[in-house]
């Protein structure tokens, strides 16, 4: 068996048996003898001063083992980069759901009862619920002590921001933008908005923390255990080597589980009681108090020459960061995928201004391709509007403007990645774009481009006497098939049957690992798996794995370890073509068919890849049509999965995925990342198809029947209400 042969065969996932028999142990499934249950008192106000907290009645309830308030943890703040989120609030609460007190009790029921017995007196303050309000020169400053907050990872200071209610702000320019606009034959400007939406991993967060000697043990649903360890060490003032973070099986992440907020106070409760303390977040709390995708407002201006070629572009993007920036791990405290609009196109001069803003709303965080779905909805809708104004087809406008190798992109960097024109053409071909369609039907296109992640990790291999190989890694598998990817790269490289390679995840007691995220695992962990397998091959010196294993004595192993640093720049890309039918009497949109043409390089896990692409498509479809974590007076209205509408099996259209590849991805065997590639382009493709179908242009997500109907051109729109004959 040679490498490619193994990779061509569909994989049998390593976690297949345990996940189809109920044997897989997620964090909430772990038996922890003697564990207490935690519950929290949360603010009912978006902005208030805490006048007093009375815990006496809760403390006297039988079965209550500890009650903590903000006074007990004063000054401690948590966060992935900027630590601005209080472990428990001690002076002010900044969003509905902010925590004021915590209880540990013998059972969840007692903990809940105790929470109800804690009375908090608040003095309501006027909330900042709107980004423009928050950025007024005289707006109240939500974090007056912001300059003193800890900024993790020691690589420089927190970047300066123009307004104290900015979390992050950036202005990037390449080329002489003003001169380029002056030369433009025509200039177009449009504005778009997207709501908060939730990752909605169906497994709610869970954690258990206990103190064992001088060690703090943590089992968490966090998808980057080393990062959580470092955050806890900083917040709690403990040395990193005292904290050990481990995972159970992770039930979906989609970016959200990079932020943990419970483990910090669980530590205090565990210390106070001398017992393990656990919490399983209720889904209502998931939806209302954890870090959703940022709501955005994006204004785009683009100048084109007489042939419709882009000559200048600028964007102004505002992202509602909510009460805390803690959910963002990035150095600029932005959702980075939202900064550089018109990705994938030739843009000779561009200016991008982007900011995240403090408001008294639920804090925003990272979600599958952070910032990018907002950006791509705006950019790809904008392009369609420009094409219509110019009287050329949206497809033709894209063909004229997609970046070819070496072209300046919107970042100013030359394009390096797949053949974007070929992807568009293939999507158009497969949706049968030239076929005449009846009234009320239309097709829409969008391009999606996503960087291939970078970073470094270490993977070790141990070959035993039985001829099996154990790969050890610090990365978990939140569902993406990471462990099977490592298994198959090792097997392909060594020419062994994949079933002889198993993968073991180590806690933070093992070698440093960056965790899941940022389209990282295929290039970084896949690269490390390849390097480790090559190191083992070298060590075997021409012997086969079986021969080398036979020569081993009892208990002997051959061990190799490889650290790999993925640094190369690359992109995955896809083109969407979506066909919709719009009922012009109601505005209702039905997606009839979809094509996604993708270039993700060499395929490592065929079954898993298909799942990532199909799942990514429906993830984007939810954002396009349904999802809206709407707030009213700072309170999330959709507090359960009945109100927060996710796509069901009945909502998904026939989907065709076509692979085109130049085979030159920078990952192992020429692979590229796939997990965050497909979802960003779907909302724009649907919006573009809707306009093609009925002339209705929706500038705000989700694309509801009401919005479509309201935007119908006057001659099309019929009066609503009872029809009289």
């Amino acid at each position: 068996m040679t490498g490619p042969t193994i990779l061509d065969r569909p994989e049998r996932r390593l976690d297949g048996d345990e996940k189809t028999t109920g044997a897989a142990k997620y964090t909430a499934d772990l038996e922890v003898p003697g564990a207490l249950q935690a519950a929290f008192v949360r603010s009912p106000y978006p902005h208030a001063r805490i006048v007093s907290v009375d815990t006496a009645r809760a403390r006297s309830l039988a079965g209550v083992r500890a009650v903590l308030t903000g006074a007990d943890v004063r000054g401690q703040r948590l966060g992935r980069r900027l630590q601005d989120w209080p472990v428990l609030c001690w002076d002010r609460v900044l969003f509905v759901g902010d925590r004021v007190a915590a209880v540990a009790a013998d059972t969840r029921e007692i903990a809940d009862d105790a929470v109800r017995l804690i009375s908090v007196e608040y003095e309501e303050l006027s909330p900042l619920l709107d980004m423009d309000e928050a950025l007024r020169p005289d707006a109240p400053v939500l974090h007056p002590d912001g300059a003193s907050y800890r900024f993790l990872e020691g690589r420089g200071e927190r970047p300066a921001v123009p307004h104290p209610n900015h979390q992050g702000h950036v202005l990037e320019t390449h080329g002489d933008v003003d001169a380029a606009f002056a030369r433009a034959a025509r200039t177009f400007e449009h504005e778009f908005a997207t709501p908060r939406i939730h990752q909605a991993a169906l497994e709610p967060r869970a954690a258990v923390v206990w103190v064992e000697g001088d060690r703090v043990r943590v089992v968490s649903t966090n998808k980057a255990p080393f990062n959580l360890r470092d955050q806890m060490a900083a917040t709690l003032g403990l040395s990193k080597d005292r904290i050990v973070v481990d995972n159970g099986t992770i039930g979906g992440d989609f970016g959200g589980k990079g932020l943990s907020t419970d483990e910090f106070v669980l530590y205090h409760l565990a210390k106070a009681t001398g017992r393990p303390v656990r919490v399983v977040t209720r889904y209502a709390d998931e939806l209302t108090t954890t870090n959703p995708r940022h709501a955005s407002r994006i204004r785009l201006r683009t100048g084109v020459d007489a042939d419709g070629r882009i000559v200048a572009h600028e964007s102004h993007a505002l992202f509602d960061g909510g009460a805390y920036a803690a959910g963002k791990p990035t150095a600029r405290l932005l959702v980075e995928g939202g900064v550089e609009t018109l990705e994938g196109y030739r843009v000779p001069a561009a200016r991008h201004e982007a900011a995240t803003v403090y408001t008294n709303q639920v804090p925003g965080g990272h979600m599958r391709a952070p910032g990018q779905p907002q950006n791509v909805f705006a950019s790809e809708s904008h392009l369609d509007l420009i094409a219509r104004e110019l009287g050329i087809t949206p497809l033709e406008l894209r063909r004229r403007n997609v970046a070819r190798p070496g072209d300046p992109t919107t970042t100013g960097e030359p394009w390096h990645g797949p053949d974007l024109a070929a992807l568009l053409d293939r999507a158009a071909l497969d949706i049968d774009a030239d076929r005449p369609r009846p009234g009320g039907r239309g097709i829409g296109f969008a391009l999606g481009v996503r960087h291939v992640g970078r970073g470094s990790t270490t993977i070790s291999l141990r070959l035993g006497r039985d001829g099996t190989i154990e790969a050890r890694t610090g990365v978990g598998d939140q569902g993406g098939g990471q462990h099977t990817l490592i298994q198959r790269i090792v097997a392909a490289t060594l020419g062994v049957d994949p079933v002889t390679v198993r993968v073991r995840r180590l806690s933070t007691e093992g070698p440093q690992d960056p965790g899941i995220g940022g389209s990282r695992v295929t290039p970084v962990h896949g690269g490390a798996a390849l390097a480790a397998a090559q190191a083992l091959k070298e060590k075997l010196g021409g012997r086969s794995v079986a021969e080398a294993a036979k020569a081993l004595g009892t208990g002997e192993e051959i061990v190799v370890s490889a650290k790999f640093d993925a640094t190369a720049s690359d992109h995955g890309a896809c083109a969407h073509a979506i066909e919709v039918a719009v009922d012009v009497d109601t505005g209702a949109v039905r997606v009839l068919a979809a094509v996604v043409a993708v270039d993700v390089g060499q395929v490592i896990n065929p079954v898993g890849l298909r799942g990532q692409l199909e799942g990514g498509f429906v993830y984007g479809l939810g954002m396009a049509l349904f999802e809206d974590l709407a707030l009213e007076d700072g309170r999330v209205r959709a507090a359960n999965l009945g109100d927060y509408k996710l796509p069901t099996i009945a909502d998904v259209p026939p989907l065709r995925i076509v692979h085109l590849s130049d085979g030159h991805g920078v990952g192992p065997y020429g692979a590229r990342s796939a997990g965050e590639l497909v979802n960003p382009g779907v909302p724009a493709a649907v919006a573009n198809a809707v306009q093609d179908a009925c002339g209705s242009r929706v500038h705000t997500l989700p694309i509801t029947a009401e919005r479509v109907w309201n935007a119908l051109p006057a001659p099309t729109r019929r009066p609503s209400g009872p029809v009289r004959s």
Binding site: P10, R12, R13, D15, G16, D17, E18, K19, T20, T21, G22, A23, A24, K25, Y26, A28, D29, E31, A200, A201, L202, E203, P204, T249, I250, G251, G252, D253, F254, V280, R282, Y283, A284, Q478, G479, G480, G481, V607, G608, R610, G611, Q612, E614, G615, G616, F617, V618, Y619, L621, N640, L641, G642, L646, P647, T648, I649, A650, V652, L655
Partner: protein, 150 residues
């Protein structure tokens, strides 16, 4: 709170115990009986993670009181032995796996009473089981495959 004696079978084995009146079936299964293959997701009967079979019918264990299953035959994923399981693996019917027990128990309940269920009937039936990973395509393929290979 009042205590109630309940007797039922769990995956074929007799169970006889006393539960508080407000004990939910999902908590009874997971916390008292250690059957953690049944998951608790939304807790309001929408997501389908906690789907178990009660006398063959798929039910949300988060909406049932333990007292309501007195006399019933309960089946959880731990008691499942179906071609659906292998089909979910080969067709990409799961990724994170948190919804898988519920998907399997729902699909199995359908195929037991309707082995030749149509594609449309299968889609209709599985509507109460959310999945955030797969986009449902792999789940459909898996259930179709298990049906077709019967």
């Amino acid at each position: 709170m009042t205590q109630h004696r309940i007797r039922f079978t769990l995956n074929g084995a007799a169970v006889d115990l006393t539960v508080p009146a407000e004990r939910l079936l999902v908590d009874l299964l997971r916390d008292d009986l250690g059957k953690t293959g049944t998951k608790d997701g939304c807790s309001v009967g929408v997501c389908g993670l906690c789907t178990v079979q009660v006398d063959g019918a798929p039910m949300s264990a988060c909406l049932l009181l333990a007292t309501q299953i007195d006399g019933a035959a309960i089946r959880t994923v731990e008691g499942l032995a179906s071609p659906l399981q292998e089909a979910f693996i080969s067709e990409g019917g799961f990724q994170c796996g948190i919804c898988t027990s519920g998907q399997l128990m729902a699909a199995d309940a359908l195929l037991r009473v309707k082995p030749k269920a149509t594609d449309a009937e299968i889609r209709d039936w599985q509507m109460g089981n959310l999945c955030r990973c797969t986009g449902y395509y792999g789940i459909e393929r898996a259930i179709f495959k298990a049906r077709d290979e019967r």
